[in-house]
């Protein structure tokens, strides 16, 4: 398979009043064309900052300190702002959690999509509007010829997310970054949006990075998965492997602490959920050694002294945990 995106040792740091934090701390990932990579983690783990780093959209107080982001072999980090603007929207597109804040409330949705089209394609305004109508139909909005004239507030949350997707798809990007695209939506709408993203991915042989906090969504929609914790990828593999043989104690904790659906069955519905003790460490005050060591039941002295590296324990399955690495060996 053709490698589309390769992130190499990416480090994104932020300078704040309280000090410098590493929001993304040495992340390496590979994504092939037509593949969906799920990135899971809790709030503050750096998953959104990773996506924004790829897009070249990190907030003003942040910067990329190190690493490469290669799209088809070209390092996006070495591009000028103007060249990057060319890439954004045309080759890489992004959709966000809250579609209402990403849409302009005073423009009709047809015009907004047409604007995105005309930014990258030299077509007359009229044709762009016609194309946006077709895109709306493609993302499953009923009566697109009427809906192009609607304003964002006239649409439901699910419909707004469809409009965002239509806009993102307007230039047939090779890579779609979806940051919690269904978190603000109801479960029946979520299922429809995930189906839509999958269908568009298949049709256009597009790669998708799906950022979510919900393991269920990853299991459903992704082929590969990376689990992030406090700025680092702690485990990455194919989806089947991650769920059938999770190796990092944090991944295991996440899967096992999920009510129903995953680990527990009707039989132990009465039982307590497994928990991960404690809370995610503050990025300002990371523990020495492994970042998960304070919450880990298996932690040894070594874990509190040295930070484990991401190592391949079986083909395509990487884990950064001394103990899992030793056991598998």
């Amino acid at each position: 398979m053709q490698t589309l995106l390769e992130i190499k040792n990416l480090k994104t740091i932020f300078s704040t009043a309280r000090g410098v934090i590493k929001a993304v701390d040495g992340v390496s990932l590979i994504l092939h064309a037509g593949e969906t990579l799920g990135i899971v983690g809790e709030s503050g783990c750096g998953k959104t900052m990773l996506a924004l780093s790829v897009m070249g959209l990190i907030p003003a107080n942040g910067r990329i300190a190190r690493g490469e982001v290669l799209l088809n072999g070209q390092n996006l980090l070495s591009l000028t702002e103007e060249e990057m603007r060319e890439k954004r929207g045309r080759d890489i597109a992004m959709i966000f959690q809250e579609p209402m804040t990403s849409l302009n409330p005073v423009l009709r949705i047809g015009e907004q999509i047409a604007e995105a089209i005309r930014l990258h394609q030299h077509v007359p305004a009229k044709e762009a509007l016609f194309l946006s109508e077709r895109l709306l139909g493609e993302v499953g909005i009923p009566e697109p010829e009427r809906r192009v004239k609607d304003y964002p507030h006239q649409l439901s949350g699910g419909m707004r997310q469809r409009v965002m997707i239509a806009m993102a798809m307007s230039c047939r990007p090779q890579l779609l970054l979806a940051d919690e695209p269904t978190t603000a939506l109801d479960v029946t709408i979520q299922a429809q949006i995930l189906n839509l993203i999958s269908a568009l991915k298949e049709k256009n042989n597009m790669a998708v990075i799906l950022i979510t906090h919900d393991l269920g969504i990853v299991a459903e929609a992704a082929q590969k998965v990376a689990v992030m914790y406090a700025g680092k990828v702690v485990e990455t593999s194919e989806v089947e492997k991650l769920f059938s043989r999770p190796q990092h104690p944090y991944t295991r904790g996440l899967i096992e602490s999920r009510p129903s659906g995953c680990a527990d069955t009707e039989a132990n519905g009465e039982a307590y959920l497994k928990t991960i003790p404690g809370t995610v460490p503050s990025l300002y005050d990371l523990p020495p050694g492994c970042r998960f060591s304070e919450r880990c039941a298996m932690a040894e002295d070594k874990c509190r002294l040295r930070e484990p590296e991401l190592m391949e324990i079986e083909s395509g399955h990487f884990v950064s945990c001394f103990i899992s690495q030793r056991i598998v060996k």
Binding site: E42, S43, S156, G158, M159, D186, V187, T188, I189, Q190, A191, Q192, N195, H213, D214, L215, G216, I217, A219, E220, V239, E240, F243, S244, G253, L254, I255, S257, R258, P259, S260, G261, C262, A263, D264, E266, G269, Y272, L273, K274, T275, I276, P277, T279, V280
Partner: protein, 322 residues
């Protein structure tokens, strides 16, 4: 059979939207539309539904933050909407609420201990000093430490704030706790901690829960019985296992099918999910526009909630034959 703690009868609440100057016809939203529901002592009743289905309005009615337009609700045979202000004060000691957002439901200018102590002082449970002791005990009971008593909400993490909210709700030793999406705003690794805490507290304090959530996994874990709400109406009510194994209402089935599943080997869903929860007009079943089992009668009459095989209740003309 446990005794009935809350008996809701034909409860209704509508809101009128728009209709102001420059606007067209006002829109009537029936947030709660003729709900009948009983909550038994000692059980956890799960209330599940999507946003806008009226589940939070129902909770707010029960705690008397809203006044109903129709129907009644009884707390141990007392009509809660006929309470005098003294009675209401007593009632509010017996029924407490835990909110979704632990950030906005705690006063940022009060320390943790004074937040928990406030209801004790208002209801003059004991002297100030003793109230304080009770509060400290509660704080430790919900997993916070002595050193944290004087801290302010912003110094706590989301999970810890929710613990403060829980301690505050328990301070008056209520009989019923209404938990409105208590874990939705929390991270995955914290959710399970709070769910376990709620379970422990239920046992220790002999509580009854009305547990509201949109998350079917959470609801399944905590509930004994589950009520499914759609556009203001209860469409299905059943024991937990019946609901998850043999859902009767097409909407419940759709919800279950839409639930993300953690097993990547599981075959993809057989049920197609379509449409959105939009007001379906005055006539017929609310769900008719999204339903795959629709027949002529669904356009004409709204189905009533009636008993079905297996002991559950379902509001569908075709319950049992689909």
């Amino acid at each position: 059979m446990a005794s009935v703690l809350i008996d809701i009868q034909k409860l209704g609440k509508k809101y009128i939207l728009g209709g102001g100057f420059l606007q067209n016809r006002p829109r009537i939203i029936r947030a709660v539309n003729g709900v009948d529901l009983q909550i038994f002592e000692g059980e956890t009743l799960g209330l599940v539904g999507e946003s806008g289905c009226g589940k939070s309005t129902l909770a707010r009615l029960l705690i008397r933050l809203e006044e109903p337009d129709a129907g009644r609700a009884y707390f141990k045979d007392q009509n809660i909407f006929a309470f005098s202000s003294d009675d209401l004060k007593i009632y509010r000691r017996r029924v407490q609420m835990i909110f979704q957002d632990p950030y906005s439901s705690l006063n940022p200018r009060k320390s943790a201990i004074s937040i928990i102590q406030e209801p004790l002082n208002i209801h003059q449970i004991a002297g100030r000093k003793q109230n304080r002791e009770i509060s400290v005990q509660l704080m430790t009971r919900v997993g916070l430490s002595h050193e944290q008593t004087k801290r302010y909400p912003h110094e706590f993490s989301g999970g810890q704030r929710q613990r403060i909210g829980i301690a505050r709700a328990l301070a008056l030793q209520p009989a019923l706790v209404i938990a409105d999406e208590p874990v939705s705003a929390l991270d995955a690794s914290i959710q399970s901690q709070i769910l376990n805490l709620l379970k422990d507290l239920k046992k220790d304090f002999g509580l009854t829960y009305l547990f509201i959530s949109h998350d079917l996994n959470v609801i399944r874990h905590v509930s004994d019985r589950i009520a499914v709400m759609y556009l203001g109406c209860i469409v299905e009510l059943a024991d937990k296992n019946n609901l998850y194994q043999a859902a009767l209402h097409p909407y419940t089935r759709m919800l279950l099918a839409a639930m993300p599943n953690c097993d990547p080997h599981k075959p993809k869903r057989e049920i197609t999910i379509r449409g959105e929860a939009l007001d379906a007009g005055d006539q017929g079943c609310n769900f008719k526009n999204r339903c795959f089992y629709k027949i002529a009668i669904c356009d004409e009459r709204q189905p009533k909630l009636k008993s079905c095989e297996g002991g559950g209740l379902c509001a569908c003309h075709r319950a049992g034959d689909i």
